[in-house]
Symmetry: C2
Subunit: 243 residues, 2 copies
Amino acid sequence: MVISSTDNFKIKEIKKLHNKKYRDILGLFIVEGEHLVDEAFKNGYLKEVLLVEESNINIDINKTYISKKVMKSISLLESPSNVIGICNKINEDKKLGNNILILDNIQDPGNLGTIIRSSTAFNVSSIIISEDTVDIYNEKVIRSSQGMIFNINIIRTNLIEKIKELKEEGYYIYGTDVVEGIELKSIEKKDKSVIIIGNEGQGINEETKKLCNEFIYINMSNKCESLNASVAASIILYLFNKD
Amino acid sequence: MVISSTDNFKIKEIKKLHNKKYRDILGLFIVEGEHLVDEAFKNGYLKEVLLVEESNINIDINKTYISKKVMKSISLLESPSNVIGICNKINEDKKLGNNILILDNIQDPGNLGTIIRSSTAFNVSSIIISEDTVDIYNEKVIRSSQGMIFNINIIRTNLIEKIKELKEEGYYIYGTDVVEGIELKSIEKKDKSVIIIGNEGQGINEETKKLCNEFIYINMSNKCESLNASVAASIILYLFNKD
């Protein structure tokens, strides 16, 4: 059977997952396209798929066939994919490891996804995001993470409390600053380290700043005021990566 | 006088500039918001502005007042700004300098804009883009460049011919590759250097690859296949920047 009505109850329920409120209530989120569906499956988070008949997905999972029209009604892409995956939300791991990245109010979904991708590439052990950071299950975040959202531990929590805890556990806290600090190339990375990246416009908030042990500065031409947040994070993570 | 009709001839002409074809015919493009209008003005490319009455733009330029409704009809932003600038296309400078970045078929406007921003930050002297790279006057490119499009020399041309010319002039050509090459930290930058960044999905095309003297590889975890193109470019540019 192929669902061909956009008014179908199941389809309407799934479309609600475009909305953060419903993702939170149902504990589910959507991924689109074969690559992301594969990543979700490999990591044990795929619950079911919706697919068009032309699709050639060969995984052992609950499948519902839908018409192209229905796929188009669910998809957020200009050219809808052949498959959409419904996933269970990803578990948070309490063990944080030694290489932590903290994101303080990142607002752009593309930036958050790109930072998740670079963090996985450069062996960040956990990403801690502030409560006001954009939702990690936003589809633009997932797309720009290239599915790396399934490969790294991400925790959403109150930053101030968490940073205080981390300092007590011996972590060294690196802030980032566009005007002053120690140039990145001169920094000696500590074994247990935390890097904090701030909001795209305002940087790190004042309360959080007070908890930093040191500030990292990326040297640049005075023609340019600042770097894109995901670029700044990635440059630092690359230089901090020892593996 | 305030233009309050979206059917006004001038407004209709300006809206055509959202389309690459008309930008090319008219040699004009749009920037939105005070910061970008300022950058255009400072660099001598601002031709005129359209603004709402609340705006407080104090520059000596031809001004047309428009209603908020008309502004909303022109703007591509969810929250339209108070001012839109009409700019003359930016001149290409034949002198390329010693630190060249080449972009081979970059398709995502956000990536191109971010690369332009990082290139300005890290003292790239000229960016050369392939004929199939996304239009630099696309408004998403300009927005993510943060106006740096006015601060760096950008040339669109046939890459193969241009790279051959550059090699004859003594430039050393660095390709980038996600699987093999020399790790970035081990590379000794030559005085006259060209870095080539490839398409988001396919990388550098085969013909272009043959012209490279050496390939740069960015070391990363095998959990992650590749980096975002603007991130990879920015990491390399940061490490190559000697100023």
